[in-house]
């Protein structure tokens, strides 16, 4: 039996009817139609489905949609301010940290959560924070550079 629920995604409220066994990633992509969030392995290993729930990086493939009522969900579409990209998004572009782009939304959300907690992470801390996001294309070097670069830009902006 389907349940009616309200999800808050990127500050907007969506009323959806879903079965309790539906995972958040499918509701975000198929019911709500925000396809920035990717689905890779479906069992927690790749991080492509990462979203922020109340600011915490969360795997939407292992989270039930019904469990998310009353929480604030951020997907990659919620990071930019109008047409202005979030500094982490801009840094990924500037540093060439994107190739096919499949891992990118999850990578950027994990990086955003990392920087919110630790505004100037060391390389080790970046690796620890991003270990749950797999990239088959870039070899990670440019991704790490992008996160460092984003940290610098955000520090300047904060001044």
């Amino acid at each position: 039996m389907k349940k009616l629920l309200t999800l808050e995604i990127n500050g907007e409220r969506f009323d959806v009817a879903v079965s309790p066994a539906t995972f958040l990633v499918d509701v975000i992509r198929e019911t709500v139609g925000l396809t920035g969030t990717k689905k890779g392995c479906g069992i927690g290993d790749c991080g492509a489905c990462t979203v922020l729930i109340d600011g915490r990086p969360t795997l939407s493939c292992l989270t039930l949609a019904v469990a998310c009522t009353g929480k604030s969900i951020t997907t990659i579409e919620g990071l930019s301010r109008g047409t202005e990209l979030h500094p982490v998004q801009q840094a990924f572009i500037d540093k060439g940290a994107i190739q096919c782009g499949y891992c990118t939304p999850g990578m950027i959300l994990s990086s955003t959560a990392l920087l919110a907690e630790n505004p100037s992470p060391s390389e080790e801390e970046i690796k620890h924070g991003l270990a749950g996001n797999l990239c088959r294309c870039t070899g990670y070097v440019k991704i790490i550079e992008a996160v460092k670069h984003a940290a610098e830009t955000m520090a300047k902006e904060a001044k």
Binding site: F23, G44, P57, A67, A113
Partner: protein, 297 residues
């Protein structure tokens, strides 16, 4: 990839949870972070009729310390909170280290230590440290609670001592006596996001003379169907004096009591060699910490 459909309930209080669990416990599964449960459901290894979500119950969250009782970690506390807790870092640094090694950042923000322990995988990250600490489990029973040493909790592969209607409520880590320390050692194939090939929790306590071993616990993971202590070796090591003979006996003892199997992660012979090395490194780490503690005192 989806399993059978299931129902979902999210009680708003511990009391509401307890009555629902008492009523529906037989065909229900507790849902904490879901990082083990949903993998099993998606792989069709499990098909519960009902999931009872305890992840936001305020009564099951939090970490506290009392000089008499030690560290109390409520069952629903996230692994990421344990990793970051100043209390855990101070009173159980090896547990903070084990927590930081569990899965990825996303997994740690979802997962609970209760889920890690109740899933009862022999390769799990936190049980060896909890065994080394001599942790007591607070178990919620229909209408009350009981405590059980964690050394009596793991009965067989993925089987625990929880009875029908019971759930894990809290972990209690008694305060560490003077001249004692706990270490965690692990060995995997890559650095993050993997199932350990071997892991070990080590507790060492020295007598007032600073050289005689007065107590020791050696808890091994991934060398048998459950995480367990090398009790025979512990007995033989008690009363020995520190030194090469003691270290060699510890390494040889755990290798003898380990009963690993060959699997895709490593051969049994290799595990047997490495477990001895982990014991030695863990004991050295304990000695270093005990030394530091004395320097400060």
């Amino acid at each position: 990839m989806h399993g059978e459909p299931f129902g979902y309930e999210k009680p708003a209080s511990l009391r509401e949870f307890e009555s629902l669990f008492a009523e529906r416990g037989e065909d229900a599964k507790i849902l904490a972070g879901g990082t083990d449960l949903f993998v099993l459901i998606k792989e069709r290894l499990l098909a519960p009729r009902l999931l009872i979500d305890i992840s936001d119950l305020p009564e099951l969250r939090g970490i506290s310390y009392d000089p008499g009782e030690g560290l109390t970690i409520m069952a629903g506390t996230k692994v990421a909170e344990i990793e970051r807790s100043a209390l855990v870092r101070e009173h159980a640094p090896a547990l903070a280290f084990a927590a930081a090694n569990l899965g990825s950042n996303q997994v740690r923000w979802m997962a609970t230590m209760a889920g890690n322990v109740c899933h009862a995988s022999p390769a799990a990250e936190t049980p060896p440290v909890l065994l080394a600490h001599g942790c007591e489990l607070v178990i919620g029973t229909p209408g009350g609670e009981r405590t059980l040493p964690i050394s009596e909790f793991f009965l067989a592969y993925r089987k625990t001592a929880l009875q029908a209607g019971e759930y894990l409520k809290a972990f209690r880590l008694p305060p560490l006596p003077a001249r004692s320390a706990v270490a965690y050692q692990l060995r995997g194939l890559r650095r993050a996001m993997e199932i350990d090939m071997l892991n070990m929790g080590i507790y060492l306590e020295l007598a007032a003379d600073g050289v005689t071993v007065s107590d020791i616990r050696l808890a091994m993971g991934s060398v048998g169907p459950v995480t367990y202590r090398a009790r025979g070796t512990e007995q033989r090591l008690k009363g020995m004096r520190l030194g090469e003979e003691f270290m060699a006996a510890a390494g040889a003892g755990v290798a003898e009591e380990a009963t690993p199997i060959d699997d895709m992660r490593a051969s049994a012979a290799y595990r047997n060699r490495v477990i001895g090395v982990l014991a030695r490194r863990g004991l050295e780490q304990c000695l270093e910490q005990i030394g530091k503690g004395r320097g400060e005192a």
